[in-house]
Symmetry: D3
Subunit: 137 residues, 6 copies
């Protein structure tokens, strides 16, 4: 399936080739997954998306790499993006997520969804203690 | 706001009191936040919800406590549960989340939402390499 | 809060007055809740929305009235519409929903959210037995 | 996949045939897409759905046809409805959406998702200036 | 598709076998659907999920079995969980849901989504009459 | 409400001041709305978010300014972001959206939500004609 034309030879476009090369170099693999191939129909969209993914996911930051992948999986599940769940689960496994951690992550996402639905169903009023605006610095 | 009656003195019910006491003991605080007060209208619902939250969030597990709170925040944002975003952000801060980590978590959730919407908008087909069912053990 | 102008005297417009009168007559109450007042800024939108709500919610159909309100609450929770959760919980109570049924409904919605997130997180393949297209009539 | 029985010859039912004929006539094509075939298991549901789609999408209104399809795509992406994303992207292309406009639409939907998640994550309070109820007419 | 390894012979694990046997006994069928097979990669997650589904869905409670399945379908649609929509529609049919009831359920879920989006789009303020916290007991 | 500390004088930080000044210059107004004030707790997050919003929303692109605001509103409604619905509805009005266009936009978003839920509820299979991957260029 696809909603935009996927070029037969996306790397014929030098801007696309530059991004794909950077993906391969950054990730140390020849594999360029379908999201990037799908985005290749518009080099500007491809470049901007990769720049931000690279800055946050492929560079050392405040949060460790495996935690970042777990957060990514969590958001992707809640947003019901099947492709993203698959690709970031694969990435998390490549970064060392064990079966037991994967199972706990899913249990955690499911628990959060459960209390999200309870809190929304009850329309629970905010505790003043949780409001950062109360105690401004 | 609330959709269920919040009893004036919820702890008059011994089952509710037992849960509130366990929340206070487990979290080492006298504060019982509004979600639990709202759930007190049905002691069974209160007991079951707390049992699962305690098992996963207040016990040592495979994933460290701060990461668990970050995943919880991420799911709550994607499910648009304002109460949950507030309460778990407060919990994450209590467990040591810095402003810089909080900012990065939000940037990460926002990045995931962005690529979720791109992948769903493009209806990207799954790469066989991401399908665990391909390489069964 | 509001994003559209709410007329001070919406019933000055005869089309709005006709809908409000029908709401009062159908529901046997003088109370016209804020959703309808908010929709009054465009009589066509008001008329069409009320016509469909009336046809499905205020007329005898295949599904009994309380079940319909419970389904409505469930969808509203999952779509994170606070106003709708409030208004349909009030409507369900007016149609006889007890505290125990309300608690069970919330437990059920939360359970569904939990398995929804598990199934999406696992990307479970469809069992052929569940596919109606398999056994066409 | 399907959850309702798809009749082998849906147009054997005269009500279904009338709707299908109107779809063909309105859209000037012989092609009736699967959503309508799936809805054919209940002629009333089919008739009501088509009546509203026709009124808003296939008639001249305040918003031009291509903008309407773009809004439709945006909502379908955010609601994670793959079928709808596909069918309305095809419709938008048929109405003249270029590759560049498609790419920008996706970038825009992704940007909105990103700031939606930031605003929800930060629980930003409403600016009084944005509240239409403040300055009633 | 799948994101976790599905064991070739899941019942070789006695904890998994115990759950599968209970599923077969409770549902009076030999069929164990894919969600449970997917969860088998972690026996704890499998056991806890089945325990709660059994308690709420396979036992007599305040809400009748068919209504429970309908609510489950409604939440699954709003959360865009295709697998769940399929499996619970099959379950609802097995519990007696007719084509006419199915069509009405879908119309109802669609109506709720429509007014959810209208109320969210208008940011309708809550009517004090709907706030249970106003009139505490 | 807020989950991150809002500095009393955010513009004491020169990076924040630079962004706020650019917002004022770009939008030709002294008003800096709360989203930007909330993001000021992390200058990097503030800078990156504004850079992308400016590039897409405050510059001439393929899609006209009012259409962009309408798409933004649509996504914000479907993602249940109340703040975003409010702020982008105000922006759309400032760019000329009439009451009639606003009403039609809401009707359109509600119609899309309705057919989204129907298509997801029916699990409609994709028509090959809608799959761009079929007819590659």
């Amino acid at each position: 399936m696809a909603t935009a034309p996927v070029p037969a030879d996306p790397e014929a476009d030098p801007r696309v080739k530059a991004v794909f090369d950077d993906i391969r170099r950054t990730r140390r693999t020849d594999f360029v997954n379908n999201l990037w191939r799908a985005l290749a129909f518009d080099p500007t969209l491809l470049e901007r998306t990769w720049a931000d993914v690279k800055a946050l996911m492929a560079s050392p930051t405040q949060i460790d790499p495996l935690t970042k992948e777990m957060v990514y999986i969590a958001v992707s599940i809640a947003n019901a993006c099947g492709y993203c769940v698959h690709s970031h689960t694969a990435a998390a496994r490549a970064k060392g997520m064990t079966d037991a951690q994967h199972a706990e992550l899913l249990a955690l996402v499911a628990l959060a969804a459960r209390t999200n639905h309870l809190a929304t169903g009850l329309q629970v009023p905010l505790d003043p203690a949780f409001d950062t605006a109360q105690g401004q610095r």
